[in-house]
C-alpha cells in the first residue's frame, strides 16, 4: 500500500515538474509610432484636381497610419521627428507629385521621389508613396496594398468576401447566404479555400478569385474543415472526421494523395504550416484541454507548444517562422498571444474584449484578428508587438474570420470597380 501511495505521488508530481518554465507576459510594445508632420503645397491646382488631391492626401495619411509605424502630427505642436513634404502640380493627364521626407531636427533629406497620378490611379499612387515613405522611415513594408478575405453577416446568413484592407475594393465570394468560415488564401493569392454549409454540412470549397469559379474540393462524411495551404501551394492541411474523429490530414491539391498526420481519439484541428513546409502547428485536447502542439508532417514527432492556461487554440505560424500567434483564454476572456516555435515565452497582445482568428500580414510584421474591443465584432489589425490597433472593414456587420493574403496585390486593375 505504501508503494502504491509513492507511485501515486510520483504520477501526480511528475508531470508538473517536467513542464518547462513558461512565463506569460503582457508585451511591452517594442515599437512606438514615429510622429511625422505633413507639409502640403497645392501650387496651381484648381477644382476638380484640387478635390482629387484632397482624396490623395486622405489615402496617403490612411496608408501611413494603418501600419502603426508612424502617426501624423501637427508640425507646430506635435513634436514631429520627420516631415513629409508633398508638392502637387497639374500634369498633362492628372497630378504630378514630388514627395520628400526630411529629418525634422537636422533637415537632412531621407527620401525623395516623383510620382504621376491619373484620377484612376490616384489611390494606388497614394498607397505606393506612403509605402515608400514608411520603408524609408522604418525599413519595413506598408500594408495598404494587401488583401483580406473575411466572413460577415449574422451566423447562418453570412457571406464570404475578399477585399483590400481599406475596404474600397470588395468582392462577394459566396452567392447564397449561409454558414461559411475559415477562409485561407493559396500562397499565390489566386485561390481561396473555405468551409461552407451550402450542401447542409461542413464541406471544403475552393474559389478561384481571378475567375470566381468554385469547386467543392472535399466532401467526406463529417467535418471537412480548417484548411491551410502549404507554403508551396501543393498541399492543403485540413481537419476531417471521416475516420471517426476530428484528425489532421495533408491532401495534395491535385487530389492525388491524402495522408493522415494525427492519431488521437479526441480533437485535433486548425493546422498551420511552418514556412519551411516541414512542420504543422495545430490544436489538440490530448492533454485534457485544448492546447497547441507542433508535429512534423509525417506525424511522427509531436511536441507541446503551450502550457499556460486551459484553452489555447487557433495557431497561425508567421511567414518568417519566428512566431506562432494563437488564441488563449485569460481570466475568462479570449486574447491574441504569440510565442516562439518552442513555446519558451508567451506574449499577450490584446487585453480587452474577446479576440479570435489571428492571421499574419505578408511580411509577418502585423496580425489581423476579429475582436469585440469596440463593443461589436469587427476585424482589427495590429503590429506584431500588439501596438497600433485599428479597426478595418468597419462597414461590414459582424466581420470576422480574417485571412490575410500572402501575395502582393495591385489595386489599379480593379480601380474601375470601386
Amino acid at each position: 500500500m505504501r508503494n502504491l501511495l509513492w507511485l501515486l505521488l510520483i504520477v501526480l508530481v511528475g508531470p508538473a515538474n517536467s513542464q518547462p518554465d513558461v512565463h506569460l507576459k503582457v508585451t511591452k510594445q517594442e515599437y512606438r509610432a514615429i510622429p511625422i508632420a505633413i507639409a502640403d503645397s497645392t501650387g496651381d491646382l484648381l477644382t476638380p484636381l484640387l478635390e482629387a488631391h484632397h482624396d490623395f492626401l486622405s489615402y496617403f495619411k490612411w496608408a501611413i497610419e494603418i501600419t502603426g509605424y508612424a502617426e501624423i502630427v501637427n508640425s507646430s505642436s506635435g513634436q514631429p521627428e520627420a516631415v513629409v513634404e508633398i508638392k502637387a502640380k497639374a500634369a498633362s493627364d492628372g497630378i504630378g507629385y514630388e514627395i520628400k521626407l526630411d529629418d525634422y531636427s537636422s533637415k537632412a533629406t531621407i527620401f525623395r521621389r516623383r510620382y504621376t497620378s491619373s484620377s484612376e490611379t490616384l489611390r494606388h499612387t497614394a498607397y505606393l508613396a506612403a509605402d515608400d515613405v514608411i520603408f524609408a522611415l522604418t525599413g519595413r513594408h506598408g500594408i495598404a496594398n494587401t488583401r483580406i478575405a473575411f466572413v460577415a453577416g449574422k451566423r447562418s446568413q453570412s457571406h464570404l468576401y475578399v477585399a483590400t484592407i481599406d475596404g474600397r475594393w470588395v468582392k462577394q465570394v459566396t452567392r447564397v447566404p449561409g454558414i461559411v468560415m475559415s477562409p485561407a488564401w493559396s500562397p499565390d493569392g489566386n485561390l481561396l479555400a473555405y468551409v461552407s454549409y451550402s450542401q447542409g454540412k461542413p464541406d471544403l470549397y475552393v474559389t478561384d478569385i481571378t475567375s470566381f469559379e468554385t469547386t467543392r474540393f472535399l466532401a467526406f462524411e463529417g467535418l471537412n474543415a480548417t484548411p491551410a495551404w502549404s507554403p508551396d501551394g501543393r498541399y492543403l492541411a485540413v481537419t476531417l472526421s471521416k475516420d471517426g474523429n476530428p484528425e489532421i490530414y495533408v491532401i495534395a491539391t491535385d487530389g492525388k494523395s491524402i495522408r493522415r498526420v494525427t492519431f488521437y481519439s479526441g480533437i485535433d484541428c486548425s493546422p498551420t504550416w511552418a514556412p519551411n513546409g516541414l512542420e504543422l502547428a495545430f490544436t489538440s485536447d490530448r492533454a485534457g484541454s485544448p492546447q497547441i502542439f507542433v508535429t512534423d508532417i509525417e506525424g511522427i514527432s509531436v511536441r507541446r507548444l503551450t502550457h499556460e492556461g486551459s484553452y489555447n487554440t487557433s495557431p497561425a505560424w508567421s511567414p518568417q517562422g519566428d512566431l506562432i500567434a494563437f488564441v488563449s483564454r485569460i481570466d475568462g476572456r479570449f486574447q491574441i498571444c504569440t510565442t516562439d516555435p518552442f513555446g519558451t515565452e508567451v506574449n499577450v497582445l490584446t487585453q480587452a474584449g474577446n479576440n479570435e482568428d489571428p492571421t499574419w500580414s505578408p511580411d509577418g510584421m502585423h496580425i489581423a484578428f476579429s475582436s469585440t474591443i469596440g463593443g461589436k465584432t469587427g476585424i482589427y489589425i495590429m503590429r506584431k508587438d500588439g501596438g497600433g490597433k485599428r479597426l478595418i472593414l468597419d462597414s461590414y456587420e459582424y466581420a470576422r474570420n480574417p485571412s490575410w493574403s500572402g501575395s502582393a496585390y495591385s489595386i489599379t486593375m480593379n480601380e474601375a470597380s470601386r
Binding site: 447562418s156 463529417g222 487557433s314 479570435e356
Partner: protein, 174 residues
C-alpha cells in the same frame, strides 16, 4: 504495480458498466408507451383496436410526432453527463421501438471559444451521442451527424443561462 493496474481496470469496469445499459429496460413515461403502442402493435390487432377505440386512428403522419429530447454538455466538454445518459437512454428506447425512424444528431456549442475549435467540439458531442445509441443497439446507418459549432445558438443571449442551453446535441428526424 500489477495489483494497482488490476485495481484500476476492475474499478473502471464497474464504473463503466454502471452507466452502460446492458439491456432494454421497461418503458417509462407516457410518451414512450404511446409510441410503443403505435409501432409495435401488429396490423391485425391494430385493426381490432381501431374498431374498439376508433377515436384516434393510427396514421403514419402521427408517427412523425416522435420527440427526442436534446442533451446538454459542460463547457468545453464532450463527455456525457448522467443527465445526458438518462435522456439518451429514453431516446434510444424510442428509436428501438420505431425502427423506421432515421435521425441526424446535431452537435452545438456556446459562443465562447474559437469557431474552428467549436466546430470540432460540436462534432465530438454529436459523436458521443451517436456512439451511445449505437452501443445501445441502434443501427449506425440510421444515424447521421453534423456539427454546427457555435453557428446555431437556440438562445442568442450572452450569459451563463444561454450558454448552458446552447451546449447541446439535438436529435432531428430525417
Amino acid at each position: 504495480m500489477k495489483f494497482f493496474i488490476l485495481c484500476l481496470i476492475v474499478v473502471s469496469l464497474i464504473l463503466f458498466g454502471a452507466c452502460h445499459p446492458k439491456k432494454m429496460r421497461p418503458l417509462e413515461g407516457q410518451e414512450q408507451t404511446q409510441v410503443e403502442k403505435k409501432s409495435q402493435a401488429p396490423p391485425p390487432e391494430k385493426k381490432i383496436e381501431q374498431e374498439v377505440t376508433p377515436i384516434k386512428p393510427l396514421e403514419p403522419a402521427e408517427e412523425k410526432k416522435i420527440v427526442l429530447e436534446s442533451i446538454h454538455f459542460d463547457f468545453d466538454k464532450y463527455n456525457l453527463t448522467d443527465e445526458a445518459i438518462a435522456i439518451l437512454t429514453k431516446n434510444a428506447e424510442i428509436l428501438m421501438n420505431n425502427p423506421d425512424v432515421k435521425i441526424t444528431i446535431e452537435g452545438h456549442c456556446d459562443e465562447r471559444g474559437t469557431e474552428e475549435y467549436n466546430l470540432a467540439l460540436g462534432e465530438k458531442r454529436a459523436m458521443a451521442a451517436r456512439d451511445f445509441l449505437v452501443r445501445f443497439g441502434i443501427e449506425k446507418s440510421r444515424i447521421s451527424i453534423v456539427s454546427y459549432g457555435e453557428e446555431r445558438p437556440i438562445d442568442p443571449r450572452h450569459n451563463e443561462e444561454a450558454w448552458a442551453k446552447n451546449r447541446r446535441a439535438e436529435f432531428v428526424l430525417r
